[in-house]
């Protein structure tokens, strides 16, 4: 496979040499790919704008020895153009890209569901119908579920009792009074309800939630995500709440 083609979302870019960039793309069929885009940092570059983070691109790559080389790129949808003019949405979007990068560990391992989820998340973020922080938390919860880390939200993570009492990250979600480990958080019932709504895509309930429950939900989801990733999400510190 010397030359191959796939569509994907640009997750991040790193400078390489004088005018090149290493572009990390989560593609639809192949999975995460890192490719060199030559000369894109020059202002005369024809495709620098197509390989910016958030862009949904149609790519052609050439298999290289260590890194593949991007030979062609066409924009399918430039999500970044809309996000960059709204700072809270931009920071939420960057946190989504970083999480997608972390959750797809290996390169060239197909991750179709993660790709579709990211495209859906970015589209929802751009449409602007829901608060950026809610979209981000919904994305976190669903991407964790796709990766196999879905938190138990409706019955005890340890004994399946429906009478829940607390949220214990290390136990894998909500727990009953008997299974509750020391130090487990005791969130409001509405916060757990919000997490369920976000996981199911019940936007009517999520949009109607109160600010304090959203804040509590964000804190729990962020802690749960980072515990399972065994790694901090750097951009999360910079996500702005409206």
């Amino acid at each position: 496979m010397n030359l191959y083609r796939d569509e994907g979302i640009v997750l991040r870019t790193q400078k390489l040499g004088e005018a090149d960039r290493i572009v990390t793309v989560l593609t639809k069929r192949i999975g995460k790919v890192r490719g060199v885009a030559k000369g894109v940092r020059r202002t005369k570059s024809r495709w620098g704008a197509r390989l910016e983070p958030f862009t949904h691109v149609d790519l052609q790559l050439h298999t290289g020895r260590s890194l593949d080389v991007i030979t062609q790129a066409e924009t399918l949808r430039p999500y970044g153009e809309a996000l960059v003019t709204d700072y809270p949405r931009y920071t939420a979007g960057i946190a989504m890209l970083e999480t997608a990068d972390r959750l797809t560990m290996g390169e060239k391992e197909p991750a179709l569901r993660q790709f579709l989820l990211l495209v859906g998340g970015l589209r929802t973020l751009v449409e602007g119908d829901h608060e950026a922080r809610l979209v981000l938390d919904a994305y976190f919860l669903r991407s964790l579920a796709v990766a196999g880390y879905a938190p138990a939200l409706e019955s005890c993570a340890r004994c399946s009792t429906p009478a829940i009492r607390a949220f214990a990250i290390q136990a894998g979600g909500v727990v009953c009074a008997a299974c509750r480990p020391p130090g487990a958080a005791v969130p409001a019932a509405e916060t757990i309800g919000l997490m369920i709504a976000l996981t199911r895509g019940d936007w009517a309930s999520a949009d109607a939630s109160e600010a304090r429950h959203r804040t509590e939900c964000s804190g729990l989801v962020a802690a749960y995500l980072q515990w399972h990733l065994e790694h901090g999400i750097r951009s999360l510190r910079h996500v702005e709440r409206l």
């Binding site: 704008a49 197509r50 430039p78 931009y90 920071t91 960057i94 510190r237 910079h238």
Partner: protein
């Protein structure tokens, strides 16, 4: 592998940006065959630049004194500040000879994924400069990439309550290029920023 000091020189040169092992070797052998006076001058300049050059206390540009040449120049318009990411951008804009105002160097762009937030840039210093009310226009000349645009958006929102005129450098077609080769985003921006041709 070369003997001691020659290898040390190659290793040190190889640490410079854009210099690979082969280039480092070529530069090292050039220095070995060069006139000793030339090499001494280079060594002296390297030491001097590290000892003398600092960052301007007003704008953050590289300077040989407390304030840079542009901040000391009384002929420059103090009412307009152009915000750039790096000192290299000041040089690029100065080459145009179009801008007669002053600069503010941020020291980078907001990049949450790299852990760089607004507090890591010289934004607080910029706000302090704007506080005296002398500045009437702020030109945002951060890079036309995602991080540069996000930084410009953040700054525009931050200074909005001050009632300043905030402008962003235009994006569009490069001079001397063919329209058909322009990418969609650049061409789209060129359309957005089209101007009236008054002849």
């Amino acid at each position: 592998m070369y003997e001691g000091v020659v290898q040390n020189l190659i290793d040190e040169l190889g640490l410079l940006p854009g210099v690979g092992p082969k280039s480092a070797q070529r530069i090292a052998f050039h220095l070995l065959s060069a006139d000793p006076a030339d090499v001494k001058r280079l060594a002296h300049v390297l030491l001097e630049v590290k000892e003398r050059v600092r960052f301007c206390r007003v704008c953050g540009n590289v300077a040989a004194e407390e304030e840079c040449r542009i901040c000391r120049d009384t002929r420059r318009d103090p009412h307009v500040i152009c915000v750039v990411e790096e000192s290299k951008d000041v040089v690029a804009i100065e080459k145009t000879r179009e801008f007669r105002g002053r600069y503010h160097v941020l020291g980078g762009a907001i990049s949450p994924i790299e852990g760089v937030g607004p507090d890591d840039l010289r934004i607080r210093e910029l706000m302090a400069r704007l506080a005296d009310g002398q500045v009437t226009e702020l030109i945002l000349a951060t890079d036309p990439n995602l991080e540069g645009e996000a930084t410009a958006t953040y700054l525009a929102r931050l200074v909005k309550p001050m009632g300043l005129k905030v402008t962003r450098l235009a994006s569009g077609l490069p001079v001397g290029g063919d329209l058909e080769y322009a990418d969609e985003v650049t061409l789209g921006r060129a359309f957005e920023g089209r101007r009236l041709l008054d002849v």
